[in-house]
């Protein structure tokens, strides 16, 4: 049924423009050399080699007899001055991206086929420029501006015919060549144009050999076969070649799938004169942050991690990545800029060292992690902290600084200070999936029973003395050397005497590296006070207090 439809309407293929840069890999190679400030090759005859065979060669090399697919040694023997370099497909693609973006500015809806070749619909462009030829001229003019004077344009019904037209010489039959580099196959004349071309253009080598064996040498001869017969004899591969040869349009939809234009999501702001104060910078960045977030929102994205780059007026760059537990709002982004500037080392008054720049001259915000906005819609039941709480805490945070407000999470560890970690408000929890493990894991040597309510962020120096006034230590058998009677913390003797103490329990960590063991001791004073002590390197420290 499809075959009858196609035969009944053979001209359903839409008009397609193909933009082709011959020998693009060579152009890309030369541009890469230019971009990395290297010397150009000594000879214009260049061959790019992949797998010991020529993958691309320049026009000068071709004139000497170098062909694509030739072995490297053979190519060098044909052209002794040939410059041979390895072919890098990544460079081809990377150097073609700006060309694509420039063409997109001229004609929207570009589909890249491979590096050096792209297609677009002819209909809109022809209407805008007043004809297919002026549209082609406009693209060629752009190519000349981009430094690609040898670019070719082919316009025909369907992509295959247009590509063949772009590659065709001006003298081939069935084709108009109104100017250098433009080849136009008139509407509904694609099949006639293709009929003279060799069958190898539409089929892979193995299939071409089969067709040659059957005496089919031109695309016209292939197109003359009934499609049903081709399908029965050669299957889908044969049908595809047959459709290309007969210049039939696709069965449904469009041949062309234009790419979505790439959008730059990061934003930047130049400040003149430079700004030195965090508040001023935050104020200047408000609209920038709003532009940043709304740009992401237009792409239906939310930002969960953000890179802030602050550049001094003397070119020193301060860069930091900020994560957010939920999603950045403009106010959050401004806060990160403020905190980053506030946390930067500043030169003390009257001293010429430190940060010598007069302030920040350039701000750049770029997204590091984005997520689909649909995954961040607020649920029916609240899954985020109360917005009022967040609002008030953020205000306090902007008054006191980033690390001044937060919550505490329990983590794994042996010492009290290791077992809790402070998480500043509205930052992501570090290592939620835990490099350090969970607090519930077994930690040999950790504190059993109730934990002290006061945990000293830095252990206080302490002394433990017996009734004769000499210091109590730890002997070789992990026992106290004497009965402790008095405790001194921060070199102040506590008035109450020691009335109870626990056995020493050791913390042996990394003994294979020779780390000395540490010991812990619970101590009860006669007034009901209780302390947790840590013995380390011959000295006592107060780790926590049961207040």
């Amino acid at each position: 049924m499809n075959a009858t439809v196609d035969r009944a309407a053979p001209g359903t293929a839409e008009r397609i423009i193909v933009f082709w840069v011959p020998d693009w890999p060579v152009h890309a190679y030369l541009r890469e050399l230019q971009g990395t400030a290297q010397e150009p090759p000594p000879s214009p005859a260049i061959a790019l080699i992949a797998n010991r065979r020529v993958a691309a060669c320049s026009e000068a090399a071709r004139a000497e007899g170098v062909r694509i697919g030739l072995r490297e040694t053979e190519a060098q023997s044909r052209c002794p001055s040939l410059v041979v370099t390895p072919h890098d497909a990544e460079v081809d693609e990377r150097r073609f991206a700006p060309v694509l973006a420039a063409i997109e500015q001229l004609i929207p809806g570009v589909e890249p086929i491979r590096a050096g070749l792209c297609t677009m619909r002819a209909r809109g462009a022809a209407r805008y420029y007043g004809g297919e030829q002026p549209a082609a001229e406009a693209v060629l003019k752009l190519a000349a501006q981009l430094g690609l004077p040898g670019a070719r344009i082919g316009i025909a019904d369907g992509r295959f015919a247009a590509e063949q037209a772009a590659r065709a010489a001006a003298t081939e039959p069935g084709l108009l060549a109104p100017s250098e580099g433009v080849r136009i196959v008139p509407a509904a004349a694609a099949a006639a144009f293709l009929s003279g071309l060799p069958v190898a253009r539409a089929a892979d080598p193995a299939f071409t050999e089969v067709l040659h064996g059957l005496g089919i040498r031109t695309l016209g001869a292939l197109a003359a076969l009934p499609e049903d017969a081709v399908r029965q004899r050669f299957g889908p591969q044969g049908v595809a070649a047959h459709r290309r040869a007969s210049a039939a349009g696709p069965q449904h939809g469009s041949e062309l799938r234009p790419r979505t234009p790439v959008r730059e999501l990061s934003v930047e702001l130049a400040l003149e004169p430079p700004v030195a104060h965090a508040e001023q910078l935050a104020f200047a960045c408000m609209t920038l942050a709003e532009r940043f977030i709304s740009g992401l929102a237009e792409e239906r994205l939310v930002c969960t991690a953000l890179r802030v780059e602050l550049t001094d007026d003397i070119g020193v760059r301060h860069e930091r990545v900020w994560a957010h537990p939920h999603r950045f709002t403009p106010a959050d982004a401004v806060n990160r800029v403020r905190w980053q500037l506030a946390a930067m080392p500043t030169a003390p008054e009257g001293v010429e060292h430190g940060r010598e720049g007069a302030g920040i001259g350039h701000v750049r915000l770029s997204p590091v992690h984005t997520d689909r906005a649909a995954a961040h819609e607020p649920g029916l039941w609240s899954t985020e902290p109360d917005t009022r709480v967040h609002h008030h805490l953020s205000r306090v945070q902007s008054r006191l600084g980033h690390t001044s407000v937060g919550t505490i999470a329990l983590t794994g560890g042996r010492l009290l200070t290791d077992r809790q970690s402070f998480i500043p408000w509205s930052t992501d929890r570090p290592g939620r999936r835990g490099a350090r493990g969970s607090a519930a894991d077994p930690w040999p040597g950790s504190l059993p029973g109730p934990a002290p309510t006061l945990v000293f962020p830095a252990p206080l120096p302490a002394e433990l003395v017996d009734d004769t006034g000499s210091a109590v230590g730890v002997d070789d058998e992990d026992l106290l050397t004497a009965r402790p009677t008095q405790l001194r913390v921060n070199s102040t003797a506590l008035s109450a005497l020691v009335c109870g103490w626990s056995p020493l329990w050791p913390l042996r960590e990394q003994w294979w590296r020779g780390s000395p063991p540490r010991f812990r001791l619970q101590l009860q004073l006669s007034d009901g006070d209780a302390w947790l002590l840590l013995h380390e390197g011959g000295r006592w420290h107060a780790e926590g207090r049961y207040d």
């Binding site: 009022r388 505490i408 926590g544 049961y546």
Partner: protein
């Protein structure tokens, strides 16, 4: 009906009505601490002064926190998170401001709008105007303040007069149970209470034998 009987019946009616009125202003309170507080619970808009024990002060926060309210601990750099968690404080809803700087009371005033119970180590000098402003905010937003230290005109003052530990001997055992004697002073007059902590949590006096096997 004789006057004495009338007075008695009226008093009975008053006591029947009082809890109803007070309950509107009651915050969830740990059962073991209810006898210490006037009205049997922490009251919205009130401030409390606790002397001598951080564990007791944190225990006042615990029930409200585990009931889903946000709590805050302001000005305590040595906050023991594990002890708080075993008392029943939900750490992910417990906001810490370890170093509030010069304007401690301003921060307290700002945060009392969203935090239901605020634990504060007050600065040495407190101006009466600031206290009035904070009290007004507490009343307006229905939150309570627990100050660890002197605080002007508290609803109740809790002073730990004695602390006893059980479980530790001379070179053996581990700290386990704690008993605090608390002297309270409120509108009911001075009174003496005993608060028992077992396994890091407040033991309910009504259920003396049952202990939590796994600390919360």
């Amino acid at each position: 009906m004789n006057p004495a009987a009338t007075v008695r019946s009226l008093q009975q009616r008053i006591t029947e009505m009082q809890p109803l009125r007070l309950d509107d202003r009651a915050l969830p309170t740990t059962p073991g601490l209810r006898p210490l507080l006037p009205g049997g619970a922490l009251s919205k808009g009130a401030s409390y002064a606790v002397h001598g024990s951080m564990q007791l002060a944190l225990a006042l926060l615990a029930e409200a926190s585990s009931a889903g309210s946000w709590c805050g601990v302001i000005g305590c750099p040595g906050f023991g998170a594990e002890a708080a968690a075993s008392l029943g404080v939900a750490l992910d809803r417990c906001v810490l401001v370890p170093d509030p700087g010069a304007d401690t009371l301003g921060i307290v005033g700002a945060l009392s709008e969203v935090l239901t119970v605020v634990l504060l180590r007050p600065p040495s000098r407190v101006r009466p105007g600031e206290v009035e402003r904070i009290s007004a905010k507490l009343r307006e937003h229905g939150s309570a303040l627990v100050a660890m230290g002197d605080w002007p005109r508290p609803e109740s003052t809790l002073r730990v007069t004695e602390s006893r530990w059980r479980g530790l001997g001379e070179g053996h055992g581990l700290l386990n149970e704690r008993e605090l004697t608390v002297q309270t002073l409120d509108r009911r007059g001075p009174a003496r209470h005993t608060v028992r902590f077992a396994g890091g949590a407040v033991a309910d006096p009504a259920l003396p034998e049952i202990r939590r096997l796994v600390p919360r």
